[in-house]
C-alpha cells in the first residue's frame, strides 16, 4: 500500500467514525434514517424503538384494525407511583359510543421489558361508551404502553396508547 492510498483510507475511516459518532450524539433530535438509528442504538446499548412524539397521548386513538377509537381521561395528572383511575370512552368506526364492550387492560415498558406493576380493570360501565378503569399505576417515568383490548358484538381489537410520564 503506497502512502497516498494509506492516507485516503485513514481519512475515510476517520471521517466515517466521526460522522457515526456525531449522528449517535444527536440522533434523538434529528430525523436519522431508521436502519442507521437502529445501528446506533445497537452500538449505544438500548433496544426497542420509541415511537415519535405524535404517537403519544391520551387519544382519541384508533385500534390496531381500525374497529374502535378511544380516549383516556385520568382522574389526576399521570405521575409515577400514584394509583389512578382512568375513564376510557370507546367509539366504533362510525363515531358511535360502544356501550356494551368488555375491556381488558395490559401494558408495560417496552424499553425495559416489564409489564404493569398492578392489575387494573374496569370497575364500572358509566354508559355512553365510557368505562371506569381503576388500579392504574406506572412505577417510573418514561415511555409506557397502555393497551385496552375491546370486545363488543363479536368484534375484538386492541388500542395501544403510548404514554410519556
Amino acid at each position: 500500500m503506497n502512502e497516498t492510498s494509506h492516507g485516503k483510507l485513514l481519512k475515510t475511516t476517520c471521517g466515517v467514525v466521526t460522522l457515526l459518532l456525531a449522528l449517535g450524539a444527536v440522533s434523538p433530535a434529528l430525523a436519522v434514517p431508521n436502519p442507521l438509528r437502529r445501528a446506533i442504538r445497537l452500538i449505544r446499548g438500548t433496544g426497542v424503538q420509541k415511537p415519535p412524539a405524535g404517537e403519544f397521548g391520551l387519544g382519541p386513538r384508533a385500534s390496531a384494525h381500525g374497529r374502535y377509537v378511544a380516549t383516556l381521561t385520568p382522574d389526576r395528572q399521570l405521575r409515577p407511583r400514584r394509583m389512578l383511575s382512568v375513564r376510557v370512552t370507546v367509539m366504533d368506526g362510525n363515531g358511535r359510543p360502544v356501550s356494551d364492550a368488555s375491556l381488558t387492560i395490559a401494558g408495560g415498558m417496552p424499553e425495559h421489558g416489564h409489564g404493569l406493576p398492578s392489575r387494573p380493570r374496569v370497575t364500572r360501565n358509566l354508559g355512553e361508551g365510557s368505562y371506569e378503569i381503576e388500579g392504574v399505576r406506572f412505577n417510573m417515568g418514561g415511555w409506557w404502553e397502555f393497551k385496552v383490548s375491546i370486545e363488543a358484538g363479536g368484534l375484538a381489537d386492541t388500542i395501544t396508547f403510548n404514554l410519556g410520564l
Partner: protein
C-alpha cells in the same frame, strides 16, 4: 503525515468526548435530565398519604402514646426488647447488623422506618399493607418481641390506661384473661388463647390492634430530611452551578446512576424507590432455608388477619392496593425495593444483610450473578472500577438527617 496525525488526534478527541461526555461538562444537564433530577428531589415528595384504615393516624395524642410504646421494653417476653432495639433512632432507625436480633435472631435484615407511610406494602416481602399492621408482626414474632397479645393488653392496662382510654375508650375487663395468651405464641399461650371466649379474644385483639395504630401514628412522623443531593438539585434548577455542593466524581456518579447503570428503573422518585418488588439475584445467606420473597408475601397479605379488608381496619370497604395488587410467578425471589436515602448509613445490605458494603452491592449489580430463586431481572452493567467508585460516591450524597415530628433532632435509644 502531519495532516494525518492531526486527523487522528481530532478523531480520538471526538471518540473520547463521545464516550466520556460527562467529564467535559460535568455540571451541565439537558432539560430532560433536569426534569429527572427534580423528580428525585425531596421537594417533589407528595404529602404523607392519609391512612383511612387507621382512625388515629393523624392524631397527636396517638403519636405521643405510640412513641412511648415504640421505646418500651415491657412490650416483650423478656422485658428487654422494644421496637427501638432494632429500629435505633441514632442509626436511622435500623441496627447495622445482617439479621435483626430481638429475643432471638430473625431471618431478615431490619428495615429503616423513615417515610414508610408512603409505602403501600411493608416488610421485605410486603406481607403487610399498613404501618399499624406491620407494627403488630414483630410483637407476636417468637424471635422479635416474643410476647402474646394478651401480655401486651395487660401491659397497656397496667402502664398506659389513661392515655389509651382517652384515645380509644374504656379498656375491656381483662381480669379473667391469663397473663400470656395468643394465637401465635408457644404451646401454653395458644392453649390459653383457645380457652378464651370469643368476646375475650375480640377484646384483647382490639387492644393489641390499637397498640399498632398508636405506634403507626408515631412512625408516620418519621421522615427524611434534605441531603446534599437535594441541595444540588435545588441549585442547578435555579440555573446555577452545583459544583460547590457535589464533587466532580459525585456528579459523574449521578450521571451514571441516571443513565447506563439503570438505577432509576427501580430507585426512582423522591424516595428512590418505586415501592415494588424485584428479583435482583441476591444470593441466599449460607444455610438459610428457601425464601420465596414476595411470592409468599403477596399470599400472606391477602390472608392477613389485620389487612385493610379486615374487621380491624377503619376503612375495610376501600382497599385498592389489595384489590389491584399484582402477584404471580415473577414474585418468586423478589424483594421490596428499599429507599436509597441514607443508604451509605445502613450497611450491611439486601434482604438478609448478605452484602457487607456499598462496594459489594455495586459489584453485585455490575456482575448480575445467577439468582437463588425465581429469575433475576439484572443484566451485567460491565462498568469499570472507576465508574463503580463514582456511583458509590454519588450514593453517599443521599445521606441526610432523619426528621421526627418535623424536628431534625432524634431521640437516643433506651
Amino acid at each position: 503525515m502531519t495532516q494525518n496525525r492531526i486527523l487522528i488526534r481530532a478523531t480520538l478527541v471526538a471518540v473520547s468526548a463521545f464516550l466520556t461526555g460527562a467529564d467535559s461538562a460535568p455540571d451541565r444537564w439537558s432539560q430532560a435530565e433536569l426534569a429527572t433530577l427534580q423528580s428525585l428531589s425531596l421537594e417533589e415528595l407528595e404529602p404523607i398519604p392519609s391512612d383511612p384504615t387507621n382512625a388515629v393516624a393523624g392524631h397527636r395524642g396517638a403519636a405521643a402514646l405510640g412513641e412511648r410504646l415504640f421505646f418500651d421494653t415491657r412490650l416483650s417476653a423478656n422485658s428487654a426488647v422494644a421496637c427501638a432495639t432494632c429500629h435505633q433512632p441514632d442509626r436511622t432507625f435500623q441496627d447495622s447488623i445482617p439479621l435483626g436480633r430481638g429475643v432471638g435472631v430473625t431471618s431478615r435484615r431490619t428495615m429503616p422506618i423513615a417515610a414508610t407511610a408512603h409505602a403501600p406494602f411493608l416488610f421485605w416481602d410486603g406481607r403487610k399493607d399498613s404501618q399499624w399492621a406491620q407494627a403488630l408482626g414483630p410483637l407476636e414474632s417468637e424471635v422479635e418481641h416474643g410476647g402474646t397479645r394478651a401480655l401486651y393488653a395487660h401491659a397497656i392496662a397496667a402502664h398506659y390506661r389513661a392515655e389509651y382510654e382517652t384515645l380509644f375508650g374504656p379498656l375491656p375487663d381483662l381480669s379473667a384473661v391469663p397473663p400470656s395468651a395468643g394465637p401465635l405464641g408457644d404451646e401454653p399461650a395458644r392453649a390459653a388463647w383457645a380457652k378464651l371466649s370469643d368476646t375475650q379474644r375480640t377484646d384483647v385483639t382490639r387492644v393489641f390492634v390499637n397498640i399498632g395504630k398508636a405506634i403507626a401514628a408515631y412512625e408516620r412522623r418519621i421522615e427524611f430530611g434534605p441531603s446534599r443531593f437535594d441541595r444540588y438539585v435545588s441549585v442547578v434548577s435555579a440555573g446555577h452551578s452545583g459544583r460547590g455542593i457535589l464533587t466532580k466524581e459525585e456528579i459523574a456518579g449521578l450521571r451514571l446512576f441516571l443513565g447506563p447503570a439503570n438505577c432509576t428503573q427501580c430507585h426512582n422518585g423522591p424516595l428512590f424507590t418505586n415501592n415494588e418488588f424485584h428479583n435482583t439475584g441476591v444470593p441466599a445467606r449460607p444455610g438459610a432455608t428457601m425464601d420465596q420473597g414476595r411470592l409468599a408475601g403477596a399470599t400472606a397479605v391477602l390472608r392477613d388477619e389485620f389487612n385493610c379488608r379486615s374487621q380491624w381496619s377503619d376503612a375495610p370497604r376501600r382497599c385498592p392496593e389489595l384489590e389491584f395488587m399484582m402477584a404471580g410467578d415473577h414474585a418468586l425471589g423478589a424483594y421490596k425495593v428499599p429507599s436509597l436515602r441514607n443508604v451509605a448509613e445502613r450497611a450491611p445490605y439486601m434482604n438478609a444483610g448478605q452484602l457487607a458494603t456499598l462496594d459489594a452491592v455495586l459489584d453485585h449489580y455490575n456482575r448480575a450473578p445467577a439468582e437463588a430463586a425465581g429469575r433475576s431481572e439484572l443484566r451485567p452493567l460491565r462498568m469499570n472500577a472507576r465508574e463503580l467508585r463514582q456511583i458509590a460516591a454519588f450514593l453517599r450524597t443521599l445521606s441526610g438527617p432523619i426528621v421526627v415530628n418535623g424536628r431534625m433532632a432524634v431521640r437516643e435509644a433506651h
